[in-house]
Each structure stands twice: as C-alpha cells, then as structure tokens.
Amino acid sequence: MEFGFDFVFPQLMAGISRGMLLFLVAAGLSLIFGVMNILNFAHATFWLLGGYIAYSAFTAFGPPSGANPLLVIPATAVAVAALMLLGFGLERVLIRRMYGREVPEQLLLTFALVLIIGDLIKLVWGVEDRSVFLGLPPAVIFGAFINIYYLVIIAVGLAVLAGLYWFLQRTRFGRIVRAAVHSREMVEALGIRIATIYMVVFGLGVGLAALAGGVVLPLTPLALGADIDLIVQCFAVVVVGGFGSVIGTFVAAILIGVTYSFAIFLWPDGALAIIFLFVIAVLVVRPWGLFGTELRT
C-alpha cells in the first residue's frame, strides 16, 4: 500500500472523527473527574442511556430511517435534559454521600450504577439493537469519500471543547468551579455553597454524556453492553490527557483516534492494545498526564 495522500487523508479524517467521538463521551467524565475528583464508572452508561432516550425521542418525531436529519437536534435536547435531571438527582441522593469516602468506594458505587442502569435499559428498551439511519450521501473532499456526518461530529466536538473552555475560563461560575478544585475553603469563604457547584458540575457532566449519546445516534447502533466496551477507553483518554484538563482530554482523544486509524494497517494485531500501551507509557513516564500539572498526582 502506498502512503500517498489518497490513503493518508481519509485515514486521518477517520482517525480525527474517532478521536472526536471518544472526546465527546469522555469530556463529561474529564469535567467530573477534574472538579470533583470522582472517577465515574457509569459515565459511558449515561452515554448509552442518553442514546436510547434520544432514539425514543427521535422515533417519536419520525421513522428511524430516512427521517429529517435535523430531528437529531430535538432528540438530543430531550436526552440531555433528561440526563441532566438524572445527574442532579443522583448527585443529591447518592454521589454526595461519597465525597468523604475513599477512592475504591467511589468506584464501586458508580460501578453499581453501571449494572443497575444497564439492566434498566434492557427492561425498558429490550435487547434488540437500535439505530437511526439518515441515509445521507458521502461527502467528497479532496477526492476522498467522507461520511458527511463525521463533519457534524467534528463540529460538535469542537463546540463542546470551546464551550467548556469558555464556561470554565470566562464565566463567573466557571471561575468558581476552578477555584473549588484548588481550595474549597476559599470558595465557601466567598459565600458560595460548594454543594451547589458539585451538583451542577455532575449534572453538566452527565448531560454531556447524553449529548454524545444523542449526537452519535445516526452513526453508531445502540446495543446493550456498548457502555462496558467504551468506558475503559474513556478512562484511558482522560488519564492520558491529564487530570482535570479538558484540553488534555481532547488532545489525547484525537491522538489515540489517529494513532488507531493508522495502526490497524501498520500493526493490525496490536491495534486493539495500543490504547493501553498509551496509558501505561503515560502513567509510567508522566503520571499527571500530557496536560495535567504535576502537583495533582
């Protein structure tokens, strides 16, 4: 095979899209991890639940295939709203009790949610795979055929990145959130209830998972157990990117996506393991991740 432009460009695009998909799912995980220091095992499960809710909303608006692509927007909105509410509720009822606890117990609680929500999805939606098919024609860019929906994924990914950056850096609430990461006392001294911040951040993070679930609906069929396949990859991305760094998560996701896209040619047997080699290398050499700060390990 020749490594000409005809080969490299589409692989690059596919890799970037793959990375963007990972980033979309992992962004909320990274936010929650960064601000609250809770590693949420159930994050991909929220993503899957969001996908199913978006699917139900979509099919309520139109048939699952050949419908107006724009229906994805309200369907996703429904999923995000539902999951944010769920996130607020879960934070209030469950997660809040875990703040004083040790890491293993936090992991176990969120893992219990994986099991419970997974079975609830089965109860409600059954075991049949679900998918929405828009039937869009491929785009041709520089002679390469590209799934036009990839452009949507890339745009949404960039928007999420920019939105999170703007939220954390430019808004008053975002600044408070960032302050809360470093000093709880300081934030409370300002008269702000840290409990509220955590509730909002958790809800937001879960909402981001639902956003990902809704947006990827036209690309990827929903199936039981898909969350289990994905969550370990999300952990990997967040860790490689660096503790609490949304930018880091983004860069790591793209890096891993693109590497994978080429590795399936260069090293087919090892492609599946590459993500773990990444994590091991990063944790051994630079445990705070590509973009994290050393103090946070």
Binding site: M1, D6, F7, P10, Q11, M13, A14, G15, S17, R18, L21, P63, P64, S65, G66, K122, W125, G126, V127, E128, D129, S131, F133, L134, G135, L136, P137, P138, V140, A144, F145, I146, N147, I148, Y149, Y150, V216, L219, T220, P221, A223, L224, G225, A226, I228, D229, L230, Y260, S261, I264, F265, P268, D269, L272
Partner: protein, 430 residues
C-alpha cells in the same frame, strides 16, 4: 380442566409485550406444570435446559431463538408433552456470553434441575466450555447458533448435536459462490474484515484457505480485524476504500454488521466496493429492512423463505407469526428444528431416557423446516444447507429477502468435507 389450545396459547403470547420474552419462558415453565396436575397418569416432566445470553451483545440474536423454543415447547405440551405424557419444563439461564458463567449455569441446571438436554449457547467459547460439562454428565447438548467447526471437530462429544451449518460449511459455501462470481466478474484482488473473536477468525480462515484452492488466481490483499462491539468502523472503511479491492469478505455478524453496513453506506463504500458474504440473516433482513443496501450478497443459516413449500416450515411461520407477529428469524428457525428434532428422536426411542434419545439421534433423519435432514454419523453434524443470495425487495414480504431466482442453497454434502477430515484433530476423551 381442559387442555390449553393453540389459539389460547397464541393469544396469551401475543398479549405479552414482546420484549418480555423471558417472562414468557418462566410462564411457559409454570403453565407446563398444569397438565401434570390434571393427568394423574402423566409421566415425569422432561426438564429442558436453555442457555442463551439475554445480557450483552448476544442478546439480540438469542431473543428470537428463546421465543421459538417457548412456542415449540408450548405446542408439544399442548399435546401432553414428549410421548404425550412428559410435559416439558424449560429451565432458562442467562449465560451473559461468558464461558465460565455458562459452565456454572450448565452444572446448575444439570444437577439441580435434572435437565436431560441443553439447547443453546451463543458464542463458540461458551459452547466448547459447556461441551465439557454435558459430556461428563451425559446430557445432550443441542447447538445451533454457536457453530464453530470445533464443536463437532476437535472437541467432538457423542452427546453434542449441531443443528446449524458450522463455520467450515458456511465459509466453504461462500467460497463456491465467490469463485463463480469472481470468474464472471473478473475479480482478482480481495480483502477481508472480521470481528476479532473465535467465530470471525474461524469463518475468515476457512474462507481464505478454501478460496486459495477454488480460485488460486484471486489474491488476498489484506486482513483487517476489529474488536467485537466496535462502535466506529470509519478507519477500517476508509482503509478498504483506499486499498480498492475488487471485493471484500466480511466475517461479521450481529450488531457489528449493522455498524459496518450503515457506516459503509454513509462513507460511500457500498457504492464503490463489492461486499460479498456477510452474515445477512433473517434477523438483519427484518431489523434493518430500511437500510440494508439492495443487491448486497450475503449468507444465512436457516432462511424460511427458501422453504416456503415445506409444510414444516409453513407451520413454523404460522406459529411464530401468530405468537410474535413476525416471521421467524434464522435463530428461531434453527431452534424450532432443535426442539422438534428432539421430539422426533424421543418418539423413535419411545422413552425420554437421555442415552436412548442420544442413540436415536445418531445418524437420524428428521423432518425439519429445511426438509428431511440427516445427522452425519461421524460427527453429529446435521446436513443442513447454507443460503447465499442477493438482498432484494419482495412484494410478498414487508422486508427484503434474498432474490429468489438467483439464491443458492449450498447443500452440506458439498462443503462439509470428509469424515476423515472431520475427525482428524479430534482429541481423546476419557
């Protein structure tokens, strides 16, 4: 008390939400108890184990299989059970597609529920793990969805019977079709893409090796493997498109084949590249009726539309439609055959004793939805065909089926090799 009529049964089943199929299995179990209380002279119940996943990726294919088993069992029970006096009691367990769970659940239903036969398993690894248990306990294992050639080959056990075409038969069948197609279309270069697990590896391997003999001038450019359950196949698809093979052989089944087809379509792969030989069973034909590209060449394991003249198949279709409002899938079809095949063996044996039933199945010819079929004596493989055809809209059905005039039904005898081959690697069992 009167016997529960077929109609009543069907109405009852229809009244259930279709996703509650497992509740049905429990209910079926409970209801089968009824005749026992009614008939004082009834024999002991026949405990039938069902091991299929209702969790994880295997659940989608297994759902219709479980439904069919329940329908067939209810039908036989309405006649009083096996031999008219042994009502069947179903013991269903979720294997979670994990071999170690399959082992434990297998032991559980054998030892605690005293099952005499176990229908099922979805993955090959689970089937092979279960085989050790059934062989040791001398319990029948009736396989259909899991169809690794190892089950009847290397890991052979006299207690195991395979009701579906095994992987070797399927890939050989596909080879014969592809060799013809390659000749007519002038195909010279191809590649494969497969799910990286036992079944995918098996199918791909068999296909590649056989094609080497059948069409030595067709060159394999590259193999690609992806993780089971992979949600984004974009990198693979763009890779296929830049390699530009004459055709692609996908060793993909289940949900992933949907991902492959839909993403392939959205990237223009299906428009530019011939995809030949994917698993397009009646599950996919029905579930993906709107999105499956027409003209695609695929294969299936038990296509009801190939046997519309067969009275047995007609009854399957009727029963399944009455109960579920759908056509029977490949998985339903094969598992109807399993339950009714077992019934025929028991009828011939005249007893529900397992050894007798096992011996009655040996080399037996049974009436199936796929016509009269015979188990090969040397490896207990039923001589069922593999179906290859082009996805095509048909006015008779609300979903596409294989184009009837070009569909190929590859008979087992042409593809399953000799008995010497089948028994060559067989390991010694104490």
């Amino acid at each position: 008390m009167e016997k529960i009529s077929d109609r009543k049964w069907n109405r009852f089943l229809q009244s259930l939400d279709r996703r509650r199929f497992l509740t049905v299995s429990v209910a079926a179990g409970a209801l089968t108890l009824a005749p026992r209380f009614v008939r004082a002279d009834a024999g002991e119940p026949y405990n039938l184990g069902v091991l299929l996943p209702s969790t994880g990726a295997g659940a989608n294919w297994s759902e219709s299989a479980i439904k069919a088993i329940n329908i067939a069992v209810a039908d036989i029970n309405s006649r009083g059970g096996f031999l008219g006096k042994h009502p069947i009691k179903i013991h269903y367990r979720d294997t979670q597609t994990k071999p170690d769970v399959t082992t434990r659940e297998g032991r559980s239903i054998i030892l605690d529920e005293k099952v005499r036969a176990i229908v099922g398993t979805y993955s090959s690894a689970s089937a092979l793990a279960l085989q050790e248990i059934t062989h040791e306990a001398k319990v029948l294992q009736l396989a259909s969805i899991s169809n690794s050639e190892k089950i009847v080959g290397e890991n052979f056990s006299p207690y195991t019977y395979e009701f579906g075409p095994n992987t070797k038969m399927m890939s050989n069948a596909m080879v014969s079709a592809v060799a013809k197609l390659a000749k007519t279309k002038g195909w010279k270069r191809y590649m494969t893409i497969g799910q990286d697990y036992e079944w995918g590896r098996n199918i791909q391997n068999g296909f590649v090796n056989e094609l080497k003999t059948a069409a030595p001038d067709v060159e394999l450019l590259r193999e690609m493997w992806f993780k089971l359950g992979e949600s984004d196949l974009g990198s693979y698809i763009s890779g296929i498109m830049s390699i530009k093979p004459d055709f692609v052989f996908p060793a993909i089944a289940g949900k992933d084949s949907r991902t492959f087809m839909e993403q392939g379509q959205a990237m223009g792969m299906l428009q530019t590249t011939s995809i030949v030989g994917g698993q397009i069973t009646t599950v996919e034909l029905q579930q993906q009726k709107d999105t499956l590209p027409r003209g695609l060449v695929g294969m299936s394991r038990c296509a009801f539309f190939a046997h519309l003249d067969e009275p047995v198949m007609q009854s399957y279709i009727k029963k399944y439609r009455d109960a579920e409002g759908q056509y029977p899938t490949d998985m339903a079809c094969m598992n109807f055959d399993v339950v009714y095949g077992l019934e025929q063996a028991i009828n011939r044996a005249g007893t529900i004793e397992t050894e007798a039933a096992k011996d009655a199945l040996k080399g037996a010819t049974i009436d199936t939805g796929r016509g009269r079929r015979t188990f090969r004596e040397c490896d207990n493989q039923l001589n069922v065909p593999t179906y290859i055809g082009e996805v095509h809209d048909d006015p008779e059905f609300p979903f596409p089926i294989y184009k009837r005039d070009t569909m190929i039904v590859v008979e087992a005898e042409n593809v399953w090799g000799t008995c010497d081959e089948a028994t060559a690697n067989r390991k010694t069992r104490a």
